[in-house]
């Protein structure tokens, strides 16, 4: 008790010898304080504690600490572990270890805290009587608790916040501060193949729900020291960790600032997924079209960062966001680049055609069959009329019936487990389609129209874009049924105008499609990778040049072209590639 009173009074002794082992001088100890690990706004060097007393200071006694912790975390929570212990210092002092079972790894807690604090293995031994209330936690941080990420906090509310993210906290008898160290170790899903962005050729790794695993996946692919990962917390209750990733010197700082500012403005209770962030920060939340890319592929995420986009990773969500987005980006798949360009280009063009089919095909069929039969060759017109003859409904009702049925099948198969969902899809499509035709409820041609539309909508790689197209198909159906092709074009023009007005973080949504040359290079088509000399312009990257203009200088003629251009004063960052896809030397 005398020791405690001395600690409370701040009566500090000079260091001395204990058991013949040299003790570290206090000044030397104090020099190392504050550099051990990442802290937060509340973590301070010991000397600073009195300068700004925290709102919720740590109680003076361990009993008080325990009472306060039980107040804050509740009495009956079995996963909240408050462990009283005796620490091996000379003289021995008491401490309280706080962690959440399940969030903190038992191994880490045992190794870092219990073993290092309760077993006197250390040489030299620490003279606890030489420490004051103000610096004892800092000395523990720098000399005793073996953890990479460690900090001292003086506000008990902040300590609890950290503990709720999986860290562990050590309260030391009489100390004004508490040592908080990294102990995260909850059960989580491993790195698996992305479920929504599968590719035939390309990496199989996908993001998981664990923030640190996701940031590591990004770091592994982008090893530049310029990669920045700014950390934020959102959610009054969930206190969800968010990382804003970008490449310094490449990403436009205005874009980074805009994203950070918008996230900073979010004031909500909980944030279970990145989808909510998207809605909070996008320019036009009432638009049916998504304005940010999301991906569960680290390779795609890193490709986005390398183009000057800003990435957002949310703890607990396997879907990372990329900003800004635009219409063209939603029709791109990583596989476009992983496959050789002769296949990548046509496949991407096919996707755009599929997008148009998915949007307009049923409406076009309704318009032609109701208003413009003269467009069709006689045989086809007769075939359509014949197939529709036993159907008791107008074409619009028939189309709506099939479209709604298709949506039902799709929705039900999405929610079911994979094998059941697939079976459900087949059974639903076959049975309902065939049975509906046999029963005379729909015509066979309508089944074909709806099936083709459904297939086309599945080719769009970005799911929300597909959803937007599915949604807009219905008003177009009504317009076509009312005004024929005129109605369809009116609807399409309205959609086009809406898209023309949309922006994502200030960047026009149709931006890349507006410029013919980049558009043909890597928007509606995919040219060879060695022609991608410049990054896309729409995120306004600080560094426009992606690669050298002449890379394949070993190919016949290319080296001469490079030399010629360099003689003429052409830079390495020219607008078009001179490589021209020359073949390998014979």
């Amino acid at each position: 008790m005398r020791f405690l009173r001395r600690l409370v009074r701040g009566d500090v002794r000079r260091p001395r010898m204990i058991l013949g082992r040299p003790l570290l001088p206090l000044e030397e100890i104090a020099d190392g304080i504050g550099t051990a690990g990442p802290g937060d706004g509340d973590s301070k060097a010991p000397g600073d504690v009195d300068a700004a007393p925290p709102d919720s200071p740590i109680p003076d006694t361990l009993d008080g600490v325990e009472r306060r912790l039980r107040d804050l975390l509740g009495e009956g929570s079995p996963d909240v572990i408050i462990r009283r212990m005796v620490i091996w210092t000379n003289p021995e002092i008491e401490g309280v270890l706080l962690y959440i079972e399940g969030l903190a790894s038992r191994d880490i807690v045992n190794l870092v805290a219990l073993r290092s604090l309760m077993l006197a293995e250390r040489v030299p031994t620490l003279d606890a009587s030489a420490l004051s209330r103000d610096n004892i936690a800092s000395v523990f941080m720098t000399h005793i608790v073996p953890s990479g990420q460690i900090s001292v906090l003086s506000c008990i509310d902040k300590v609890v916040d950290h503990v709720l993210t999986g860290e562990a906290a050590l309260f030391i008898e009489g100390a004004r501060e508490c040592v908080v160290f990294e102990a995260k170790g909850w059960e989580h899903r491993g790195i698996e193949e992305p479920h929504t962005e599968k590719v035939v050729r390309g990496p199989r790794e996908g993001f998981s729900e664990l923030l640190r695993a996701n940031t590591a996946l990004v770091r592994r692919r982008l090893r530049t020291p310029d990669l920045r990962m700014d950390s934020m917390k959102v959610g009054r209750r969930s206190k969800t960790d968010i990382v804003i990733a970008y490449v310094e010197g490449l990403t436009n700082p205005r874009l980074v600032a805009t994203v950070s500012e918008r996230i900073d403005h979010i004031d909500t209770d909980i944030l279970p997924d990145s989808g909510l962030i998207e809605e909070f920060i996008e320019d036009y939340p009432y638009s049916p079209f998504p304005q940010m890319q999301y991906t569960e592929r680290p390779d795609r995420f890193c490709a986005g960062l390398s183009e000057g986009l800003v990435g957002i990773i949310v703890d607990g969500s396997p879907m990372a966001l990329l900003a800004p987005g635009n219409l063209a980006s939603f029709f791109q798949s990583p596989e476009d680049y992983y496959e050789r360009f002769p296949y990548g280009g046509p496949l991407r063009a096919l996707r755009y055609i599929a997008g148009i089919i998915a949007l307009v095909f049923p409406a076009l069929y309704v318009a032609i069959s109701l208003f413009h039969q003269e467009m069709l060759p006689t045989k086809l017109a007769l075939a359509i009329a014949g197939s529709h003859q036993p159907v008791p409904f107008p074409v619009l009702v028939e189309a709506l019936l099939m479209e709604v049925t298709l949506e039902l099948i799709r929705e039900s198969s999405v929610r079911l487990p994979d094998p059941v969902g697939q079976t459900m899809g087949f059974v639903g499509a076959l049975l309902l389609g065939d049975a509906a035709v046999s029963a005379g409820l729909v015509s066979p041609i309508m089944v074909i129209v709806v099936a083709v539309t459904g297939l086309a909508s599945f080719t769009i790689p970005h799911y929300p874009t597909g959803l937007a197209i599915r949604l807009l198909r219905f008003p177009l159906l009504f317009l076509s049924a009312g005004l024929g092709l005129f109605g369809l074009m009116a609807g399409l023009t309205a959609i086009a105008l809406h898209l023309g007005a949309l922006t994502s973080f200030g960047v026009p949504y149709l931006e890349p499609l507006m410029k013919p040359r980049p558009s043909l290079r890597d928007v509606v088509w995919r040219s060879p990778v060695f022609t991608f000399n410049k990054r896309p312009e729409y995120p306004e990257p600080l560094d426009q040049v992606r690669q050298k203009k002449f890379i394949r200088t070993w190919a016949p003629g290319v080296a001469e072209m490079a030399r010629k251009e360099s003689r003429e004063g052409g830079g390495e960052d020219g607008e078009k590639s001179g490589d021209g896809g020359r073949g390998a030397p014979r």
């Binding site: 003269e374 060759p377 005004l483 092709l485 023009t493 149709l510």
Partner: protein
């Protein structure tokens, strides 16, 4: 897009009676005059960077006269809007939607124009770029399909009804090219003024070449007499081509595409008009004017009671509007030079600027 979106629907019907078989050349002459008008407009914009038409006029001639010039410009746009929308609605109604009341078609048309005007010139410009490409592609396809049906001999004699009528028809065609002066209303929104002048010149040139090709093929396929008997020669031309055994009577597809192009053109004219009126009235935001002005446009488009009456109005308009299109930049430019007026950048922030 402004130049030929509605123009080429009926241009042949107006040019052929005057120039005969040389109507296609009249379109080219009109294009040349249009380029001249565009050049004058570009010089004016270069002298008054960041100024709207009304601001330019006010700076040159003072507020009262400047506002009056602004109102004449708005009136010009209103007539272009009324006649253009009436033509587009009629083309749809006559050709394909005869059981639908034209008022309903007109209402849908104006609803979209209002929507476009609310979104602003940025959205209209971006979408126009897409539709412009589609319209040009559609016309190239149509021309390619029309080659087997066309009879080049019908273009003879090469100068048609003579040189005098050809030049007269050229000025009629120039009234379409002269519509490009509407861009004066929003040149201030463009960052790249020099690029804007170039784009305007390209637009006029491409538009008038397309009009020349459409008129020439109209003559080759329908003949001079045939053209004088039909309401919209381009539509009749499109009716005569087919996609092999796959699609017949594909003119509806073309018309649907052109309808969207016409809509965007008229939305641009609508926007130019209301922003000018807002400038005259000193309003910071043009949006309160959108609905009242749309009602005015709809009413104006319903004044012609029949198709023939619409064309009577159109005949009068194309005869005189070209002189307004020439006079406006000439008067402003002369006034600026004589009075020594030159503008700094007084770019007025509006809610529409993107």
């Amino acid at each position: 897009m402004i130049v030929f979106a509605t123009g080429f629907l009926a241009a042949a019907r107006i040019l052929v009676p005057v120039a005969g078989t040389a109507a296609w050349m009249a379109a080219l002459i009109g294009g040349a005059i249009g380029l001249g008008i565009g050049g004058l407009a570009g010089m004016l914009a270069g002298r008054f960077p960041g100024h709207s038409l009304v601001r330019m006029a006010e700076r040159i001639f003072g507020a009262p006269l400047g506002k009056l010039i602004g109102l004449t410009f708005a009136a010009y746009c209103t007539v272009v809007l009324g006649l253009g929308s009436r033509q587009s609605v009629l083309a749809m109604w006559i050709a394909f939607l005869q059981t639908t009341p034209p008022v309903l078609i007109s209402a849908v048309f104006y609803a979209l124009v209002i929507y476009a005007a609310y979104l602003g010139i940025g959205a209209i410009a971006r979408v126009s770029l897409i539709f412009f490409s589609l319209v040009v592609v559609s016309l190239v396809v149509l021309t390619a399909l029309a080659v087997p049906v066309a009879a080049p001999g019908r273009l003879l004699p090469i100068v048609g009804n003579g040189l005098g009528p050809l030049i007269r028809a050229g000025f009629l065609a120039a009234s379409y090219a002269g519509e490009s002066i509407v861009v004066l209303a929003f040149l201030r929104h463009l960052k790249d003024k020099r690029g804007a002048s170039r784009a305007m010149a390209t637009g006029v040139a491409v538009g008038m070449v397309v009009m020349a090709v459409a008129t020439g093929f109209g003559v080759m396929m329908l003949g001079v007499r045939g053209i004088s008997r039909v309401t919209f020669p381009v539509l009749e031309t499109a009716r005569m081509v087919g996609f092999g055994q796959f699609l017949e009577r594909a003119e509806i597809l073309f018309l649907a595409l052109w309808f969207s192009a016409a809509l965007l053109k008229l939305a641009t004219v609508f926007y130019a008009s209301i922003t000018s009126i807002a400038d005259v009235l000193g309003l910071r935001d043009y949006r309160p004017l959108v609905i009242p002005y749309a009602l005015l446009g709809t009413a104006l488009s319903l004044i012609p009671e029949s198709v023939l009456e619409t064309f009577d109005y159109l005949d009068v308009f194309v005869k005189y509007s070209v002189w307004y299109a020439i006079a406006l930049p000439v008067v402003l430019l002369l006034g600026a030079v004589v009075l020594g007026r030159r503008g700094g950048d007084d770019h007025v922030q509006s809610k529409d600027e993107h």
